[in-house]
């Protein structure tokens, strides 16, 4: 019989060591997959490492790929802090992408276009996240299921757009018309894709951290999440907090879509997000819902993805190992989190 005993004092060392142990455990477990695929583990991880961090270009690619995941990670972290279970970052990302693409296609001066793309993307994500929030507050609908189902609704909406009115009439490809050249995000280093959105993500993380950790609003979010009854008793309008948190969370996820449109694809297609919304959940968990931790967690997952692609080309190990890493990392992190809170005891069932 397994028994869990609540730890009363969690040592800071444990707090730090267990997430790290989760990552190490993940990499060890996945090295067995590399072995099964018939490649040398050292070589494979070597290829991964150099593909993700080997030179300037590799580092920029890792950062570009991390950018949408920083935003979705922040989105999930903020929402989960208030115990608003937003599983819908994927759909909110897509909404943000669609709206920012619409705005980006309008002919106007570059600076204004880019600013408006951010605004439109944030609004698109925020409105999408508002639906599960309103359903929960007004109709007591479970936010986990509603936000999850909305992902599919938004995806089909996007498909209808790119296979309908947006469809490229010349090639017949299901893609949107490109945004204006002037709306393409500026690139910081010539020859790379290190675009404006990357900077935005790196600025967003500390801002979100500040909001959560140091402002009254952040305090309300944490209070609502940790003990809603006490929060209400203390005079916090928890419904309002959930509402605002949903707007913020959805908006952040929407920005992930903006970065994909403005900095990477310059248009919308079905493959605009290979599950970045779901990766956001993994990242938020790895970061223990700390906005500052989201950045390294996102870079870690991004490095795994970039590295897995290269490893696949070099050694023939299927690149899907990147997805396995995400799953294992998330599950082992959940267990690690549990172990920081509880002491596991094995004893015989007392009957």
């Amino acid at each position: 019989m397994v028994r869990l005993q609540l730890r009363h004092d969690v040592s800071p060392a444990l707090n730090f060591a267990l997430p790290l142990a989760a990552v190490v455990f993940t990499l060890v477990l996945c090295s067995s997959l590399i072995r099964i695929a018939g490649a040398s583990v050292v070589d494979a991880y070597g290829v991964m490492l150099s593909a993700a961090f080997g030179d300037t270009y590799a580092i920029t690619e890792t950062l570009v790929r991390a950018t949408p995941m920083i935003f979705t990670g922040l989105a999930v972290a903020v929402a989960f802090r208030a115990k608003f279970w937003n599983i819908g970052a994927e759909g909110q990302l897509l909404s943000g992408a669609v709206l920012s693409c619409m705005v980006g296609a309008i002919n106007m001066p570059g600076g204004i276009a880019i600013a408006l793309m951010f605004v439109a993307g944030f609004a698109g994500g925020a409105v999408t996240a508002l639906i599960p929030a309103v359903l929960r507050l007004k109709f007591k609908v479970d936010d986990v299921v509603s936000s999850l189902l909305l992902n599919s609704v938004v995806l089909y909406g996007l498909m209808a757009l790119i296979e309908g009115p947006w469809k490229d009439s010349l090639s017949g490809y299901p893609i949107s018309p490109p945004i204006q050249d002037s709306a393409n995000f500026p690139v910081f280093i010539e020859g790379t894709r290190l675009h404006l959105g990357v900077l935005a993500a790196f600025i967003a993380a500390p801002i979100v951290w500040f909001v959560i950790a140091r402002t009254v609003f952040g305090f309300k979010i944490r209070a609502t999440g940790e003990n809603p009854e006490a929060a209400r008793f203390g005079g916090i309008d928890t419904r309002r907090v959930i509402f605002t948190t949903a707007l913020l969370s959805g908006g952040l996820a929407g920005l992930a879509g903006v970065c994909q449109v403005g900095g990477v694809h310059y248009q919308v297609m079905a493959e605009i997000s290979p599950g970045y919304g779901y990766s956001g959940i993994v990242i938020a968990m790895l970061a223990r819902l700390n906005p500052l931790g989201v950045v390294p967690a996102a870079i870690f997952l991004s490095a795994v993805m970039v590295g897995a692609d290269a490893m696949s080309r070099a050694t023939g190990v299927p690149a899907f190992i990147g997805q396995v890493v995400q799953g294992v990392a998330m599950i082992s992190m959940l267990v690690a989190l549990l172990l920081t809170q509880y002491r596991v005891q094995f004893r015989k069932a007392a009957t």
Binding site: D142, V145, L149, I331, L334
Partner: protein, 314 residues
């Protein structure tokens, strides 16, 4: 409109509804039994996918489709048991863990499939299940060929609905299971081993999800593709809510959805629709979300859903 009506009253159309409903019913029942015991399993999408893959491989290498079905059921049970270990025994957050299971299973399924079949230009196929006409009944006009000339798994699924309803409402096992999902504390006081009950329910549910996945690769289609599940797991989550956690209603919900899906496929093929087909695909999701808003007042969901049970915590 005439074209639409013509499409509906065709044997092939009715048969297609039943065929599409089969995996959905299996998956929905699997999710329902898990949720009835108090555990939401968002791993369903991944569990269906990896079972579809292992089932296909089992059938491909053994040459026997039923071996594939057994392999798929076992695969589903194993990954559901992993979900149960984490959420029931350790009590970690169910939805986060479920998403993790889906990511893990998806990754593993793609990884091992690509490893086994490196040549993607010539997809491996199996000789898929053939339909078995039931003597006598199959010769009833229209309904006969539609309902009684189906796959063996479809008949078994149809049988499973009353069996599960009976087990859930009329046996001590079912009572314990429902108690574990409604009031685990009371169940525990009454001597029910809540953890074991939940663990078993989740694992059994996983086996059903596994068979649902395998039906797709071995009956509905004859090969494994990366998009073979394409959201059917999420649909099952929706159908459980729509079916109000009841076996009969869940099966009904699956049939209703299959009806919309079959109609959508027909309209798309006939090219008569001015509505984008995506609207039909999104319909069950929208429908469920709206339905949840109206239903939630009379609390059909198991009250202890998503709540881990820890004996020593009050």
């Amino acid at each position: 409109m005439n074209a639409v009506l013509e499409q509906i009253f065709q044997v092939g159309f009715l048969a297609a509804i039943v065929r599409i409903a089969t995996p959905l019913t299996l998956a929905t029942l699997g999710e329902m039994i898990s949720e009835r015991s108090g555990v939401l399993n968002l791993g369903i999408e991944g569990i269906m996918l990896i079972s579809a893959m292992t089932g296909f491989m089992g059938a491909y290498y053994s040459g026997d489709l039923w071996v594939g079905i057994v392999v798929a059921a076992l695969t589903g049970a194993v990954f559901a048991a992993l979900h149960a270990t984490l959420t029931v025994l350790l009590g970690v957050s169910q939805h986060v863990c479920g998403i993790g299971i889906t990511l893990l299973c998806t990754g593993l399924a793609y990884f091992f499939f690509r490893l086994s079949f490196t040549d993607s230009s010539h997809p491996a196929t199996v000789q898929s299940f053939e339909t078995i006409p039931i003597p006598g009944l199959a010769s009833i006009p229209v309904l006969g060929p539609a309902l009684f000339n189906q796959f063996a798994l479809t008949y078994l699924t149809a049988l499973l609905v009353p069996v599960m309803a009976y087990a859930l409402y009329r046996t001590p096992w079912g009572l314990n299971l429902r108690m574990a999902g409604e009031n685990p504390r009371a169940a525990d006081a009454a001597g029910v081993n809540v953890m074991a009950t939940r663990f078993l329910a989740v694992t059994l549910g996983g086996a059903l999800m596994g068979i649902a996945g395998a039906f797709l690769t071995m009956a509905q289609f004859n090969t494994f593709t990366f998009g073979v599940i394409s959201g059917r797991g999420w649909i099952a989550i929706a159908l459980v809510v729509f079916g109000r956690w009841d076996p009969w209603r869940c099966a009904g919900a699956a049939l209703l959805f299959a009806c919309v899906d079959a109609l959508q496929l027909r309209l798309q093929a006939a090219g008569v629709s001015h509505i984008p087909y995506e609207a039909f695909l999104a319909l069950p999701f929208v429908f469920t979300i709206v339905a949840m808003a109206f239903m939630s007042r009379d609390a059909a969901a198991p009250p202890a859903l998503l709540r881990p049970f820890r004996k020593e915590e009050r």
